[in-house]
């Protein structure tokens, strides 16, 4: 092109450069696009392998580092797997902290000994729409419909993987798997045959230790036993004063796996623990100053025993029969709680005709509880449950058919759970899912499901003094209003909350080293819990205003969850998760439900520059959060935080690690509990750890 006479040369030149640049940019983009759709394994590498002799193939160094970035989950659901290695490299010392590795989960630490964990919103100390199972044992309690995370622990090194399913999982796992299911799976005892000793400490993790020993008991039986303990220090409150939330725990357990015949295996396992928890509690009081504070000590202990028999008829048919007993006792200052659970579960999988894989099952659960309100220091009893002891039963059955419509390409999964419980009667929880694999690098799925969250014991039987509104000298003295006691009141009419969920997802591996998993969902909720005022009663001294649990609330939520893995170099992997959530409830002017952060980002880099050295960094951003509590509602500011870990293995079997947690600020607030404790910040923490396996 010839520059025009009237055109400044500079500009014309610039135009040409731009054009050239455009060409270059286009060619780069083309190469990027080609790169994106190249096969998992490069053709050169495949040819190179095929040209080698067997001798050379047996001598060549092989690497499988990219495996995680290439594997696509085949479940027609928003499933994510946290591996043992991920947990180790995150530096997490508890199950809820490890759950931050999964996209879409809202994990917030309330204080040193309490967590709020939920999926797709509705978070709380006892978040009631997330089901949690540890090796098939339900950790979700009927008492308050949720999980006491401080009670749930395993030897972290013995976790095989944690399977996180966002969205309803009720068809297989039953009620309360409304917005998600977490399956914590520990290793088979044959994989923990060495002895392992861990010890460490720091400022928040003041001291911890664990010991596991594995052994072979005969030709077909392996076993392990462990003991662990820790002491975790207190955080500070927002004014910088000590928060009084320190606690300690000691726990032990075992697992035994035996092959009875080529077709039968038996697993037997159990745990026992004791926890001492300190907390600084606030209680409402009728007399001035209308609120009292005290240092409370909680003693919690419990245990479980589980056995599972599995019989395999053929590659496509097996059944398992599982039985467990679980007990826990929480002796808290305002409430004594004990619960015993017996559970029997049967599942059978088989192939039918040529295209159906059927799985069906039946289970029965018996629960016995004792919940007693106790006196606080001023002599009042803020909580009461009537009756104080209840036996309850849940009987259920389910059937699911995975139908192959086109071999290796299209599957339809239909199923439903049918359950009867003593609190809400009969519940049906069906789901339909479809999965399409147009190519082995692409998976598309969609599903529609119904799930329910069954009533808790508290929602039907609790009476709790939650707040006192002090007397008001209005309109002018001596006229005024008396103190008002706000009393949360359970109702036998409270029934299940319900959701209909629409989900769709796409997974792909779009180069040899990058994978992407995107899920979109829309949840339509009804019969959600809302406390509505009942008739006030004046008893001469104060006005009692009951707030009765009802199912008046409706709402919807929708969002997107993205998980990516990029194996940038053989020794450097990135894990990036992003989630966006919008929650909309028809509770204008009277918010009673916590709203989870709209956005969350987790950016993790795992570097292994040498075989004996790990370097990890983990940056998290959490958007503004809204927590409701009986004292006040709190908008919790968004925060950015960083964890770092470095580990060195100087000798075979020995690892030294140094971990920094929440390093970017002295303290930050993540969540405020619904009642009793006030806002507690999470402090910066550093700990060192030594592991010796022999």
């Amino acid at each position: 092109m010839h520059p025009s006479k009237f055109q400044p040369v500079d500009s014309a030149y610039a135009h040409m450069v731009n054009k050239n640049n455009k060409k270059t940019v286009i060619s780069y983009y083309l190469s990027v696009i080609i790169g994106c759709f190249s096969p998992l394994l490069s053709a050169e590498e495949q040819n190179e392998a095929l040209n080698l002799s067997v001798e050379d193939l047996l001598n060549v160094e092989v690497t499988s580092v990219a495996k995680k970035a290439q594997s696509l989950n085949d479940a027609p659901a928003a499933a994510f797997v946290i591996s043992n290695e991920d947990i180790k490299r995150s530096g997490a010392t508890s199950i809820p902290d490890a759950l931050r590795l999964a996209p879409g989960l809202d994990v917030a630490k309330i204080d040193a000994n309490k967590w709020a964990v939920s999926s797709r919103g509705f978070n709380g100390r006892v978040a009631n729409k997330l089901l949690v199972l540890i090796d098939g044992r339900n950790a979700y309690t009927r008492s308050f419909s949720g999980v006491y995370w401080e009670n749930q622990d395993v030897m972290m090194e013995d976790i095989d993987h944690i399977e996180v399913i966002r969205g309803p999982g009720a068809t297989l796992w039953g009620a309360n798997a409304v917005n998600g299911v977490i399956n914590i799976i520990t290793k088979h005892s044959s994989q923990t045959q060495e002895a392992l000793l861990n010890a460490g400490g720091g400022n928040r993790e003041q001291g911890f230790g664990s010991f596991r020993y594995g052994a072979k008991l005969g030709a077909n039986t392996t076993a392990r036993a462990y003991v662990k303990g820790f002491n975790r220090g207190e955080n500070s409150n927002l004014t910088g004063a000590k928060a009084g939330d320190d606690w300690n725990k000691v726990q032990g357990g075992f697992r035994l796996d035996s092959r009875l015949s080529t077709q039968d295996t038996l697993t037997f396992q159990g745990d026992i623990y004791r926890t001492d928890i300190n907390q600084f509690s606030n209680y409402p009081q009728i007399a001035p100053p209308f609120q009292v504070a005290e240092n409370d000590k909680t003693l919690a202990y419990g245990g479980n025993l589980l056995s599972r028999l599995q019989h395999t008829f053929s590659p496509t048919s097996d059944y398992s029969l599982q039985f467990y007993y679980d007990t826990y006792t929480r002796n808290e200052v305002p409430l004594y709680e004990r619960r015993d659970t017996l559970d029997l579960d049967f599942q059978h999988r088989f192939a039918l005709l040529d295209r159906h894989e059927i799985i069906w099952g039946a289970s029965y659960r018996f629960g016995h509880d004792h919940l007693d309100g106790k006196k606080i220091l001023n002599g009042s009893i803020p909580y009461n449950l009537n009756p104080s002891t209840v036996n309850d039963q849940v009987a259920s059955g389910f059937i699911q058919d995975e139908l192959t419509l086109i071999d290796n390409t299209l599957w339809l999964t239909l199923g439903s759970k049918f359950e009867h419980n003593d609190y809400s009667g009969f519940e049906g929880q069906p789901s339909a899912r479809i999965m399409w694999a147009p190519h082995n690098q692409h998976r598309l799925w969609a599903g529609i499901s119904r799930a329910v969250r069954t009533p808790s014991r508290a929602e039907q039987n609790l009476t709790a003094l939650t707040r006192i509104i002090p007397p008001q000298a209005q309109p002018f003295p001596p006229f005024g209003t008396p103190p008002v006691a706000i009393i949360s009141q359970g109702s036998p009419d409270f029934r299940s909350e319900e959701v209909i969920t629409y989900e769709t997802g796409y997974r792909t591996v779009f180069s040899k080293s990058v994978s992407l998993d995107v899920t979109g969902f829309y949840n339509d909720y009804r019969d959600l819990r809302e406390s509505l005022p009942g008739a006030p009663v004046f008893n001469g001294a104060f006005l009692q205003l009951p707030l009765i649990f009802t199912n008046a609330l409706k709402g919807k939520s929708y969002g997107v969850e993205i998980a990516t893995v990029w194996q940038m170099l053989d020794w450097w992997r990135w894990d990036v998760n992003y989630s966006w959530l919008h929650t909309q409830l028809n509770d204008e002017g009277n918010p009673q439900t916590a709203i989870s952060p709209q956005q969350r980002v987790s950016l993790r880099g795992a570097l292994s520059p040498r075989r004996d050295i790990d370097l990890d960094f983990w940056l998290r951003w959490v958007d503004t959060n809204f927590a409701v509590s009986s004292f006040s509602d709190t908008y919790i500011k968004g925060y950015v935080t960083l964890d770092l870990r470095t580990a060195w293995r100087p000798y075979q079997g020995i690892e030294l690690a140094l971990v920094g947690q929440n390093l970017l600020a002295q303290q930050h607030l993540e969540y405020v509990q619904e009642n009793q404790t006030s806002a507690t910040a999470i402090d910066r923490g550093v700990y060192g750890k030594i592991s010796w396996s022999f």
Binding site: L41, A49, T312, D318, M568, D570
Partner: protein, 179 residues
């Protein structure tokens, strides 16, 4: 300012591409699944089926594995094995093993795997899998990753029970399980 960004764009994109290990690696090491697939092809080449085995023009090689395994085996699809051609069949369901002449199992729960072996019994079906245990528990060839290199384990008893024959040249490179 805008110009500068535009000037840098190709370089930035180039850097992005460079960091993406898609560029051919200076291969001192190879992807494990690629090596396993190449070994599987070689094992088939060193195996002789009994004369009465129902083999026509193709050796049907069934594969049980995830998307990564399936992808790596497409690399050996249609390769020549003597005067026959190898044909990869991805099994999505654990049955109809009688249609396979060879079977590669990437990962299966132990209880299911044992029943797969029970179902195959003494049929002339070459079984290849991952790990020592695969061969020790009733498979024929186990490929084990021992500190970054693949070791071959061959269960000769199982091979002979099925009237298959694996060439001595390959057996020399393998660890033999049993007698």
């Amino acid at each position: 300012m805008n110009k500068r960004v535009k000037k840098c764009l190709p370089q930035l994109l180039g850097l992005g591409l460079l960091l993406n290990t898609h560029l051919p690696m200076l291969a001192q090491s190879l992807e494990e699944q690629t090596v396993l697939a190449a070994l599987a092809l070689n094992i088939v080449r060193f195996t002789t089926w009994p004369i009465d085995a129902p083999i026509k023009d193709t050796i049907d090689f069934c594969v049980i594995g995830d998307n990564v395994v399936q992808q790596s085996f497409t690399g050996i699809d249609h390769k020549a094995v003597g005067n026959k051609t190898l044909q990869i069949i991805n099994l999505s369901r654990l049955r109809n093993f009688e249609d396979c002449h060879a079977l590669y199992v990437s990962e299966l729960k132990q209880n299911v795997l044992l029943q797969v072996f029970a179902e195959i019994k003494k049929r002339p079906l070459l079984t290849i899998g991952e790990g020592y245990d695969f061969a020790a528990q009733g498979g024929m060839v186990g490929l084990e990753n021992v500190e970054g290199k693949i070791t071959l384990h061959v269960n000769l008893t199982r091979v002979h029970e099925s009237n298959l024959n694996i060439s001595a040249r390959l057996l020399k490179l393998a660890k033999i399980i049993g007698n």
